[in-house]
């Protein structure tokens, strides 16, 4: 039982760290603010949710502690992180940040 839970915790932690690292590299390497926001808001959210789920399993198995705060935190991040990404992206578009040179389509250009 404890071996299974150890493997589960290790896998969740490594997956979370991998996704956080991928988000950081996306934020470094992608060309404009919209693609960077795409990388940051999706991958970082999945990474932090994996790590918090690993923490929840760790405290449940090793310390017999059912931490509802961690479950609440997972739900909170799942709800708010996409909203925050949407708000930043919309603020960037409305304050006139240019898209990447090779972008081919801008559906919002003729609205207003």
């Amino acid at each position: 039982m404890t071996v299974i839970s150890d493997v589960l915790i290790v896998l969740l932690l490594l997956a979370g760290a991998f996704f956080s690292l991928v988000a950081a590299f996306g934020v470094i390497r992608l060309p404009d603010v919209y693609t960077r926001n795409h990388a940051a808001s999706k991958s970082a959210t999945l990474g932090v949710m994996c790590i918090m789920l690993g923490t929840f399993v760790y405290f449940l198995v090793e310390h017999d502690l059912f931490s509802s705060r961690l479950l609440l935190g997972i739900a909170f991040f799942f709800i708010t992180a996409p909203v925050a990404g949407h708000l930043i992206s919309r603020a960037a578009y409305n304050s006139g940040v240019k898209m990447w040179d090779k972008s081919v389509r801008d559906d919002l250009k003729n609205k207003k």
């Binding site: 150890d6 915790i9 290790v10 932690l13 490594l14 979370g16 760290a17 991998f18 956080s20 690292l21 988000a23 950081a24 590299f25 934020v27 470094i28 603010v33 960077r36 926001n37 940051a40 808001s41 970082a44 959210t45 990474g47 932090v48 790590i51 918090m52 690993g54 923490t55 760790y58 405290f59 310390h63 502690l65 931490s67 705060r69 961690l70 609440l72 935190g73 909170f76 991040f77 708010t80 992180a81 909203v83 925050a84 990404g85 708000l87 930043i88 992206s89 919309r90 603020a91 960037a92 409305n94 304050s95 940040v97």
Partner: protein, 94 residues
């Protein structure tokens, strides 16, 4: 096994944090910096979770929720400031 993986995870999260600091310093526009700050808040939550496992205490789990709420509020305030020029609007000003 878990102790080693916890330290490895902490190192990987620190590398991710350094990459985000690079974007925060260099980012050509303000929304780039806001994106980097938001992702740094999310990474800080991961670091707090890993640290609470390393120190074997459950007292940091409130901090996780607190940092999450603060990061979201800060991002919303920044986005509203960039879009409208003010954060709290008054009807009487118009």
């Amino acid at each position: 096994m878990i102790d080693l993986v916890l330290k490895l995870t902490l190192v990987l999260l620190a590398i991710a944090m350094l990459g985000l600091v690079y974007r925060l310093v260099k980012g050509p526009t303000t929304p780039d910096r806001v994106v980097a700050l938001d992702a740094m808040g999310v990474n800080l939550v991961s670091i707090a979770a890993v640290l609470s496992m390393i120190l074997k205490t459950s007292n940091f789990l409130d901090i996780i929720l607190l940092i999450g709420i603060m990061a979201f509020l800060g991002t919303v305030a920044f986005a509203k400031f960039l879009e409208k020029g003010e954060i709290i609007e008054y009807d009487r000003d118009q």
